[in-house]
């Protein structure tokens, strides 16, 4: 276990073991480091402003960054404002994107933004992508549950995001008790990917029921699997790496609804090689966002 890598069993079984735990807990890098490589950066692909304390976007982001510091998380991606809205009209997703623009402004490299758009309003979504990404600082789009993503109506949105090298984050879930009417499945995303082989697609939440989700996108080589937002069920990352390869798996937390703790545990607790963990924790997202970050001067 990485958090205890520097603690031998003899140490641990000694009388002062809890002090060692405390020391380990207080070392912000300890969980994300391994012997010989003390700097494992973590990029978190999935955070929200809703649910954080604070009156303003900046106050909320400040708290998010403070908590991220406890795990040495280097960069955070934030999308959507508050309150959450399943099918926001254009005025509402613009307002929520304004909240995110305000949130990321003080930390232009530390905190990145994805623009929330709604494929039930394609023209307005395209305008919002132009405002927030083409002319603004954001680096991706967030698609949630307004409309299932396999529909061809989404094509102009995906084409524009692809032209801008922006990430396309699609929430996906397979719920045994039934999805929301506009909620995409990972199979929907695979369909979308087949029409857009150059798009930088992210399968959010690993499809929820991840054993099927991983299979659903296995053949879609331009789709990354994001492990955020479900229980820390053992085996998810091991199966993802086995079936997709470590290069297609991305870490995210879904904070503040989920804890950094439970979500980092999926990667750090997985029985996979250390280089794969490092890749999942940051390198894959860094590579995916590399061109757009470079274009915006946010890559260093």
């Amino acid at each position: 276990m990485k958090i205890f890598d520097h603690i031998t069993r003899r140490d641990w079984l000694g009388a002062n073991s809890l002090a060692l735990l405390s020391a380990s807990l207080s070392s912000s890098r300890a969980s994300a480091s391994n012997a010989g490589d003390p700097t494992w950066p973590v990029w978190d692909n999935h955070c929200h402003l809703a649910g954080l304390p604070g009156e303003t976007p900046v106050e909320r982001t400040k708290r998010l960054v403070e908590l991220a510091d406890r795990f040495g998380i280097e960069r955070l991606v934030v999308f959507m404002g508050w309150p959450f809205s399943y099918n926001p009209p254009p005025d509402e997703f613009r307002r929520q994107n304004d909240q995110v623009l305000e949130a990321i402004a003080p930390w232009p490299k530390r905190v990145l933004g994805y623009a929330y758009v709604n494929p039930n309003h394609v023209e307005e979504s395209l305008e919002e992508i132009a405002r927030c990404i083409e002319r603004g600082p954001m680096v991706g789009i967030k698609l949630w549950v307004a409309r299932r993503c396999h529909e061809e109506a989404l094509d102009p949105i995906i084409q524009m995001a692809t032209r801008l090298n922006a990430a396309v984050y699609q929430h996906t879930w397979l719920k045994v008790d039934g999805n929301l009417p506009g909620e995409s499945t990972p199979m929907d995303l695979a369909q979308l990917a087949s029409r857009h082989p150059r798009a930088r697609l992210i399968c959010g939440h690993a499809g929820g029921e991840w054993e099927s989700g991983i299979r659903a996108i296995r053949a879609s080589k331009n789709v990354h699997l994001e492990v955020a937002g479900g229980d820390p069920t053992a085996g998810i990352v091991e199966m993802a790496v086995r079936e997709l390869g470590a290069a297609r798996v991305v870490y995210g937390s879904d904070a503040p609804g989920r804890s950094f703790a439970s979500q980092l545990a999926k990667v750090l607790g997985a029985r996979i090689p250390a280089p794969d963990k490092k890749r999942i924790l940051s390198a894959n997202l860094r590579e995916m966002l590399g061109p757009i970050l470079h274009a915006k001067g946010l890559d260093s």
């Binding site: 276990m1 990485k2 958090i3 205890f4 603690i7 069993r9 641990w12 079984l13 009388a15 002062n16 073991s17 809890l18 002090a19 060692l20 735990l21 405390s22 380990s24 807990l25 969980s31 649910g51 954080l52 998010l64 908590l67 406890r70 795990f71 879930w173 719920k175 045994v176 008790d177 929820g208 029921e209 991840w210 054993e211 479900g230 229980d231 820390p232 069920t233 053992a234 085996g235 091991e238 904070a255 503040p256 609804g257 989920r258 804890s259 950094f260 703790a261 439970s262 980092l264 545990a265 999926k266 750090l268 607790g269 997985a270 029985r271």
Partner: protein, 265 residues
Amino acid sequence: MNRPIIDANVYLSRWPLRRLPCDRAPDLASKLRGGGVACAWAGSFDGLLHRDVAGVNARLAHACHTHGEGFLIPFGTVNPALPDWQEDLRRCREQHHMPGVRLHPNYHGYTLDDPRFLQLLRRADEARMIVQIVLTMEDERMQHPLLRVPHVDTAPLPDALQDLPDLRIVLLNAFRSLRPHQVRPLVEAGRVHVDIAMLEGIDGLRKLLNDVPLERILFGSHFPLFYFESALFKLREAALGGAAIQTICWDNPASLLSEGIPGRR
């Protein structure tokens, strides 16, 4: 004096729906020991669906003994919906010297106002055994379509505990179905404790302290169904002081155990 961790929520044997990375007892024990766990309270996945509960408990006791006496502490299954469950409880106490039992009311099809459950609580109280009640095992949205199991409804619990002020209750995996403020009246209803395995949300442990006294919180990982590190990292995220961590990880569970394991000194 500083102590390592007592984990109140681990399982042996096989999760019915998939193999888990550490579901072999030697792997599980090794992982826990490597994580600083000095003692883990172990139930059996077999207890969810098997009807031969006596066999489940015998295997659990043997596995715990094999992988370190005093390290894995068996918490046997009792299903009061089965005939002669009283004998299972007696064997847990007298034959296997278990300090407590782990109940799965939702998998076994009874509610917390069922007279059989109430009788089980009384018998456990008489035997001075800890009663763990598991409120859920997994996210209800991700269950197998042929094995959809609802969360345990805890509404009847305060009434059930009304005449049992000394009975030690541990609610495991409470926070999938309950928010901290909903746990408060349960904790106040008796000697009720909760573990942190399914506690979620950023800085969740620190927030939990607004509703649940520190003395009622236990370290529980739900390992190996969950990654062990999840519970461990929650301690870091909360940034509590060493004394609070020790209370959760050691003092509270040790205090519960200190009231004795039947048949042992």
